[in-house]
């Protein structure tokens, strides 16, 4: 019984990783590629670590396997967020079929200033602050 579950976990984890690799190869731009890899690869690692925990069934090994799972769950979104942000700042091109880019009209890539889109002419002007360099 446990062998069956182990086999299912290992195979489905490997197939999810293959799906992530297919996604990164086939999808058209940076953000869609990240959407494929981040989630599918994290799920693949989680499934394989569950199989490892089932296979060994010792306290130390199960604790380490769950430590890996928690680590992946905490770091994968952070890494994806940081990379997507850096990719947008760097100016990576979006797919030609992109429907909406709400940041484009409100964000200035040179000064890193972001507008809310609701400003009047007066309060959009930058006020000098005490922390400004002289």
């Amino acid at each position: 019984m446990i062998d069956v579950f182990k086999g299912i976990f290992i195979l489905s984890g490997a197939i999810f990783m293959l799906l992530a690799a297919l996604g990164i190869l086939r999808l058209p731009d940076l953000l869609t590629r990240m959407h494929a890899t981040t989630k599918a690869a994290a799920l693949g690692v989680i499934l394989i670590m569950l199989a490892v925990a089932l296979h060994f069934a010792q306290v130390g090994v199960v604790a380490r396997a769950f430590a890996i799972i928690v680590f992946i769950l905490m770091t994968a979104p952070v890494a994806a967020h940081v990379l997507g942000r850096a990719g947008y700042f760097v100016g990576s091109k979006l797919w030609s079929g992109t429907v909406k880019d709400e940041l484009r009209p409100n964000y200035d890539p040179l000064t890193h200033e972001l507008k809310s889109g609701m400003e009047t002419e007066a309060n959009a002007r930058r006020q000098p602050r005490e922390t400004d360099a002289p």
Binding site: A14, A41, I68, A86
Partner: protein, 89 residues
């Protein structure tokens, strides 16, 4: 069980090859960084399968270290890219 492990290793090796194609072809640097992060995830999976195959649970420590290195490399590359400003490659 051996057959399942062999099949999964073949599938993950195929995934590594596909990710490597993206590393080579990737039109911009962020694409390559994303592909390298996927690399780290797949290698963590391969190490887990190897732990099952050989029956040595110490491989999991190596998997933890590889996952940590992948995360730190992604963060470092993102800082490096962001500092550079807009680029065209």
């Amino acid at each position: 069980m051996e057959t399942v492990i062999l099949i999964s290793q073949v599938v993950m090796a195929l995934a590594l090859i596909l990710a490597f194609v993206r590393v080579v072809r990737g039109p911009s640097l962020p694409d390559r960084v994303v592909a390298l992060e996927l690399f780290a995830s797949i290698v963590v999976g391969l190490v887990g399968v190897t732990a099952i195959q050989t029956g040595v649970p110490s491989f999991l420590d190596a998997a933890i270290v590889i996952a940590l290195m992948g995360f730190l490399a992604a963060i470092g590359f993102a800082r490096f890219l962001e500092r550079g400003g807009p680029r065209d490659d």
